[in-house]
C-alpha cells in the first residue's frame, strides 16, 4: 500500500532529520550510558572477576534508563506545536506514521547504544565470547524498549512533567526484556547456548511491532479528544 508507506517514510524521515538537527540532545543518552557504566568499576571494584558478574545486569539497566531518558520527547513536541493534531486529523491510518516515529527513535537511541556497548563491555571486562550475544540482544531488546516507552510517552503527552510518571508506567513492562536480555549475556559467559533467550527477545520484538503502534494510536486519540 503506497498510501501507508508514505505515512511511514514521511514521519520516519522527518524525525531522523529533526534528530540530526539537534545531535547534541540525541547524543546525551548515549553519553549517559557510557559514563554511568564507567562509574561501576570506579565505585564498586576494578577486579575483573567481580565485574564479569555485574556486567550483564549493569549494561541492561543502563540501556533501559538511557531509552527512558529520550522517550519523553517522542510525542511531546508534536503535541505542543500542533503537528500531532494535524496527524490525528489526517485521513490516513495513524499506525504507519507512529511506526515511523518509533523506528526513528530506535535508530537514534537503541542502535547507537548497541554500537557503543562493546566500549562498556571493555570497561566491565566482559569476556570476549559475550560481545556478539550482547550486541544481538541489545539490538532486539532496545527495539522492544522503544516501542514500550512510546506507549508511556503517548499516555503522558498532555502532562507538564510526565517523565517520572512515564518511568513508573513503563518500568514494569520492561522487566521481561531485562530478564531475557541479561540471560543472553549470562548464558554466553557461562558457555551455554544463548540462542534461546535471544529468540524470546526476537519474539517479544515481533509482538511489540505488531501491537504497540495500535495501542499508541488508540492512546493518542483518547488523550487528545478530551
Amino acid at each position: 500500500m503506497p498510501e501507508s508507506n508514505r505515512g511511514f517514510s514521511a514521519y520516519f524521515r522527518r524525525d531522523l532529520l529533526l534528530a540530526y538537527r539537534r545531535r547534541g540532545e540525541v547524543a546525551s543518552p548515549i553519553i549517559f550510558f557510557v559514563m554511568v557504566a564507567t562509574l561501576i568499576p570506579l565505585g564498586i571494584t576494578p577486579e575483573a572477576d567481580s565485574l564479569k558478574e555485574l556486567a550483564p545486569g549493569t549494561i541492561w539497566v543502563m540501556a533501559l534508563l538511557a531509552t527512558l531518558l529520550s522517550a519523553e520527547g517522542l510525542f511531546v513536541s508534536d503535541y505542543k506545536d500542533g503537528s500531532l493534531e494535524q496527524l490525528l486529523i489526517s485521513p490516513n491510518m495513524l499506525v504507519m506514521p507512529i511506526f515511523g516515529k518509533v523506528t526513528a527513535h530506535w535508530i537514534t537511541t537503541g542502535l547507537p547504544l548497541t554500537l557503543a556497548s562493546p566500549l562498556i563491555g571493555l570497561m566491565l571486562s566482559l569476556p570476549s565470547v559475550a560481545y556478539l550475544p550482547m550486541m544481538a540482544g541489545l539490538a532486539l531488546g532496545t527495539g522492544c524498549l522503544s516501542f514500550l516507552a512510546a506507549i508511556g510517552a503517548a499516555l503522558t503527552v498532555s502532562l507538564q512533567k510526565g517523565s517520572l510518571l512515564l518511568t513508573l508506567i513503563v518500568m514494569p513492562l520492561y522487566m521481561p526484556i531485562i530478564i531475557f536480555g541479561s540471560a543472553v549475556m549470562q548464558y554466553s559467559i557461562d558457555g551455554m547456548a544463548w540462542s534461546g533467550p535471544l529468540a524470546i527477545l526476537g519474539a517479544m520484538l515481533a509482538v511489540a511491532i505488531a501491537l504497540c503502534p495500535l495501542a499508541i494510536a488508540a492512546v493518542l486519540r483518547l488523550i487528545t479528544i478530551n
Binding site: R6, A10, R14, L17, R21, D81, G82, E85, I89, I225
Partner: protein, 212 residues
C-alpha cells in the same frame, strides 16, 4: 442535488467537565462561502473548529458532509479539509521548505513549495531554520500551506494573528480565490474582514458566568 450545502451542523453540543461549552450550534457552510465564527473569548470558537475537524468528539448533535453523516464518510471528508490552528504545526529546527514538504507531501498541489514561499514573501528564506524567523514570518510559512493544498474546506483559527497589513491582505486574497474556485472557508477572527462574501455566525458564550 438534494443538499447543496457542503457542511451542515445540527444542534451540536460539547461539554467539558460537565460545563456546556457549545450549546446547540446549528449552522451550514455552502460552496463558495466564507463563514466567520464570532463570539467573545471562551465562547467555543476554537472548540467548534476542532470538533468540525474531528480532533474533538462532540457530546451531541450531528455533522453532515454533503448530506452524509460524518462517521460514514470520514476518509473522504478528512481528505478534503485543511485546518490551520493557533499552533502552527511548524518544526522550528527544520527549514521553511522542509516544514512545508512534510506537511504537504501527499498533495499533488498545483503550486510548488518554492513558488508558495515566494508568494508569501519568504523568497530566499527557504533554507533558513524556522527558529531564526520572526513570529510573523513563521506564521507566513504556516499560511503557505494554503497555496499548496487541494483541500475543499478550510478551517482557519485566527489566521490573521501576528500578521502585518500585507499578510492580512494575502490571506484574504487566498480565501477569495479559494471560494471562487468552488471551495469554502470557515474562520474565527476578532478582526473585521475587508472583503465581500462573508457570512457571520455568532456563538453565544456559555450560560455559566457571563459577568460582562
Amino acid at each position: 442535488m438534494v443538499n447543496s450545502s457542503l457542511l451542515t451542523v445540527n444542534d451540536l453540543r460539547f461539554e467539558r467537565d460537565d460545563i456546556p461549552v457549545i450549546n446547540g450550534a446549528c449552522l451550514t457552510l455552502n460552496v463558495g462561502e466564507i463563514l466567520q465564527i464570532e463570539g467573545p473569548n471562551g465562547s467555543g470558537k476554537t472548540t467548534l473548529l476542532r470538533i468540525l475537524t474531528t480532533a474533538l468528539q462532540p457530546s451531541g448533535g450531528e455533522i453532515l458532509y454533503r448530506g452524509q453523516i460524518l462517521s460514514e464518510c470520514r476518509f473522504d471528508y478528512l481528505s478534503n479539509i485543511l485546518f490551520l490552528g493557533h499552533q502552527s504545526a511548524l518544526k522550528l529546527t527544520l527549514t521553511a521548505e522542509e516544514n512545508l514538504s512534510w506537511t504537504t507531501s501527499e498533495l499533488p498541489g498545483s503550486v510548488s513549495i518554492m513558488e508558495a514561499l515566494e508568494q508569501v514573501g519568504l523568497r530566499g528564506y527557504s533554507d533558513v531554520p524556522c527558529h531564526k524567523l520572526s513570529e510573523g514570518q513563521q506564521r507566513r510559512v504556516a499560511l503557505a500551506r494554503l497555496l499548496v493544498t487541494n483541500a475543499e474546506v478550510w478551517f482557519l483559527d485566527e489566521p490573521f494573528s501576528a500578521l502585518d497589513k500585507q499578510g492580512v491582505q494575502f490571506v484574504e486574497q487566498c480565501m477569495e480565490r479559494h471560494v471562487k474556485g468552488g471551495g469554502a472557508v470557515m474562520l474565527t477572527t476578532h478582526q473585521p474582514i475587508g472583503m465581500e462574501p462573508v457570512r457571520r455566525y455568532s456563538l453565544v458564550g456559555s450560560s455559566v458566568g457571563g459577568g460582562f
